[in-house]
């Protein structure tokens, strides 16, 4: 497979995942705001600030918008073409990458992505941002699900597929960590703990990861920091927990290299394996308060390092060069 093709498949997948997760965040926040005080723009904006902080987008928001309003943040996160992480920008980038590998992916995959692009491009952004159009958000989520379903049933499950999985799982694990971070930014801003507000925030976080129901299966109704962190970071079964995603990433990487999963054959595999075992053998105490905070930070940093090492390994590559090999063999022989 061409390095460039691997790169495009990886990023196509990553961008779709990113778009979907951002939509989830925006969608859940709109729902949460409806039940919270949102009498004026300042209060409305206060709900959004933790999200901007956790996404690392607060500065870029302030640079683009003079006014801090709920409408503007929604526009910024959903439609703004000058925000490279906006839903529309991500979908555009996913489509550009898909176009680059148009010959590699199935027609159905391409057309679904193209339809999604046309759908968001033609949407009435003013109306959607002012009226919390849940149908619109729902539709994007459905497209993302549809895309994954089509991928599973039309895309040959060989090398290219594994690169798609890698892109998706790295992004998903990173987003789960970011969503957990929103709580940290929120608690930082309020002085007194308030159980009712906490419960609403935890519920919103879980919903952002589609994990609200799954959480209750695993932990009952114990909506508190430690169980929520345990669930979103360490769950063995929930498909969006950090551990689950990173394990899935590990399986895909080893499918690419054909190296047994108990060993490692390159740097990204080593980093991933190390992270898997750290999470796999973590205890409740490891996710409590400060040690939990630093665990989340570490996961985010490690994911970044894995992505860099992965790209170096397969996409830009000091790659195997047969002409060099021949001359070396001759020298040795």
């Amino acid at each position: 497979m061409l390095c460039r093709v691997a790169d495009s498949l990886f990023w196509m997948s990553r961008y779709i995942e990113r778009a979907e997760n951002t939509v989830r965040l925006v969608d859940v926040m709109h729902q949460t705001i409806l039940e919270s005080e949102h009498s004026n723009e300042d209060v409305g904006y206060a709900h959004w600030e933790p999200i901007l902080l956790t996404l690392g987008e607060k500065d870029s928001y302030d640079a683009l918008y003079p006014k801090r309003t709920s409408f503007n943040v929604t526009e910024f996160l959903t439609f703004n073409e000058r925000n490279p992480s906006s839903v529309f920008s991500c979908i555009t980038s996913a489509r550009e990458n898909a176009r680059t590998v148009r010959d590699q992916i199935s027609t159905e995959m391409w057309e679904t992505l193209n339809k999604l692009y046309l759908f968001v491009k033609r949407a009435d952004s003013q109306m959607i941002c002012s009226e919390s159009d849940f149908d619109f958000f729902g539709k994007i989520k459905e497209f993302a699900h549809l895309f994954r379903g089509i991928l599973e049933s039309t895309f040959p499950q060989d090398l290219g597929y594994e690169f798609v999985v890698c892109g998706r799982e790295i992004e998903r694990a990173a987003k789960t960590c970011q969503i957990l971070d929103t709580k940290r930014f929120t608690s930082g801003s309020t002085s007194e703990p308030d159980d009712a507000i906490d419960a609403v925030q935890f519920a919103a976080m879980l919903r952002s990861c589609t994990g609200f129901e799954a959480f209750h299966h695993e932990h009952g109704s114990d909506l508190d920091t430690v169980p929520v962190r345990q669930f979103l970071l360490l769950s063995q079964k929930f498909p969006r927990s950090a551990l689950f995603c990173i394990r899935r990433l590990q399986t895909a990487m080893h499918a690419i290299s054909n190296c047994p999963i108990t060993l490692f054959s390159n740097e990204p595999e080593r980093l991933t394996g190390r992270l898997v075992s750290r999470l796999n053998y973590a205890l409740a105490v490891d996710v409590e308060s400060e040690s939990g905070d630093s665990l989340i930070d570490d996961i985010e940093n490690e994911l970044e390092n894995i992505a860099i090492a992965f790209s170096r390994q397969y996409m830009q590559a000091e790659i195997y060069d047969p002409t060099v090999e021949t001359s070396q063999n001759q020298r040795q022989g």
Partner: protein, 478 residues
């Protein structure tokens, strides 16, 4: 649908001047008139949406940002009877044979020049003559593997050759997609005797590319594209996918010290044997041609000349589809084949000849003036329709660089009923058949009929408001 149609003072593909349909269109005329206008309109919208969703688009340059557009598709098919087609086929094969002989000759002995048939200035001043190709024998002696030759019909319905596209002709994907769309939208229009299929074009292309690959084992074939921002990117992908070939950009390829071309893959470098390149000569190898090119592959010419990679089309074919060289193609046919040309050229004036220059300068407002080396309808003056200043500008330009221009009397291209806002209306059309050369020369039965959608317009190029039609070659004459 009510057909209230005026053929005007033009040769109409479908109707006689008295309003009766030509025999090979009789069935279509009947079926169309039975069809509801509403129905027709709905089908058209469905087809356009399908093209957009499938991403069958091209990119238009010129505005601040380039935009993706669908190539407008007209649902009234162009029909060519079998005997008329055999005539075209014969003519195209003859022309292609002569062009290939010409290319071999100008890059070797130059007999046609020594014998005084083609003046040496044409070669010397031709922008697309490549010194690097002199004395080089391309694999199997083939220069033009894929050619798209533009044909038009004059007032009497006679087919004339307007130009040869022997470098990187595009549009073939539309030919195939148009047929697919047509089958879906209007199965009832297809005649019981059938229409000759165009869908195996990618197979033919694949075989032609394999033909110039290494003698043993399967060739590794790749389509070299400038990338997703190229206006024909959809087509590059389409062909690669249909052939099961890799699609590569310049950045994916590298020429190593062994003068072989490799592509960079996730498991290392892999040798490439044949490149169907959709990048012009100028950009293909920055070591040899345009130094600024980011699209090409440094060292590609080295690998090509060493015989380690085959290119389709060969480098240097541009000297044969130059609009000045074009004027000599009938002479080439006579010279190399000792035959009369089956398909005549359009009468052409060459300003670099003194007598022609005088005529062109005096009659410019009645002529079509074209730049010799431009494609896509850019750099063109249509005298009768142009403003005075525009004519004056071209007069100066032609005087300055006579070799860069040709002039032709305007040909009132034939018209074809085309579905517009006011129902069926006559629009000017041309025809681009596709010719593939490998062990022999094959012409795909059909081609791309391009139509000037603006009323009265003679410019059919997609970049200038042109659309296309499905083109049917019948199995018989009616």
């Amino acid at each position: 649908m009510k057909i209230d149609y005026d053929t005007g003072d033009f040769y109409d593909e479908m109707y006689h001047p008295d309003g009766t349909a030509r025999p090979h269109y009789a069935r279509l005329a009947e079926t169309l008139s039975a069809l509801g206008e509403e129905d027709f309109h709905k089908k058209r919208e469905a087809v356009e949406l399908a093209f957009l969703q499938q991403g069958i688009t091209f990119t238009v340059y010129g505005n601040e940002e380039s935009t993706e557009k669908i190539f407008p598709f007209d649902l009234v098919p162009r029909i060519i009877p079998a005997s008329e087609w055999s005539h075209l086929e014969e003519g195209l094969i003859q022309r292609m044979t002569a062009l290939n002989l010409f290319l071999h000759d100008v890059y070797h002995e130059q007999k046609i020049i020594k014998d005084g048939i083609v003046p040496i200035e044409i070669i010397k001043s031709g922008k697309h003559f490549r010194e690097e190709m002199v004395g080089f024998e391309p694999p199997k002696g083939i220069y033009i593997h894929i050619c798209g030759t533009d044909l038009i019909r004059d007032h009497n319905g006679e087919y004339l050759v307007l130009e040869d596209n022997g470098r990187c002709p595009s549009g073939v994907s539309y030919m195939i997609e148009n047929r697919r769309a047509m089958k879906k939208a209007f199965p009832q229009l297809f005649p019981a005797s059938g229409v000759q299929s165009v869908s195996n074009y990618p197979d033919k292309l694949h075989k032609a590319l394999q033909y110039i690959g290494p003698q043993t084992g399967a060739a590794r074939i790749a389509v070299l594209t400038p990338g997703i921002y190229n206006s024909a990117y959809f087509e590059h992908c389409f062909l690669a996918r249909q052939m099961g070939a890799e699609i590569v950009q310049g950045q994916d390829l590298v020429v190593k010290s062994d003068d072989c071309v490799y592509m960079k893959t996730t498991v290392g470098l892999k040798k490439v044997d044949v490149l169907y390149r959709r990048i012009d000569d100028d950009y293909i190898d920055p070591e040899v041609f345009n130094k600024e090119s980011m699209l090409g592959v440094p060292g590609l010419m080295r690998a090509y000349r060493a015989g380690n990679v085959s290119l389709a089309n060969a480098v240097g074919t541009g000297i044969a589809d130059d609009k000045v060289t074009y004027c000599f193609v009938p002479d080439m046919i006579k010279y190399y084949l000792d035959q009369d040309p089956i398909l005549p050229n359009v009468e052409t004036f060459l300003p670099y000849r003194e007598a022609d220059m005088k005529y062109v300068q005096e009659n410019m407002e009645n002529l079509v003036v074209k730049a010799a080396n431009e494609a896509g309808g850019y750099g063109m003056l249509i005298g009768p329709a142009a403003a005075k200043e525009e004519v004056a500008k071209f007069r100066e330009m032609v005087k300055k660089n006579p070799r860069d221009f040709i002039a032709q009397p305007p040909i009132s291209l034939s018209r074809h009923p085309t579905y517009g806002d006011e129902g069926l209306d006559g629009r000017h059309v041309d025809l681009r058949p596709y010719i593939i050369q490998s062990d022999k020369i094959r012409v795909v039965p059909g081609g791309l009929t391009r139509v000037a959608l603006r009323k009265g317009s003679l410019v059919v190029n997609s970049s200038q408001g042109g659309g296309s039609k499905d083109t049917w070659v019948l199995n018989n004459d009616q």
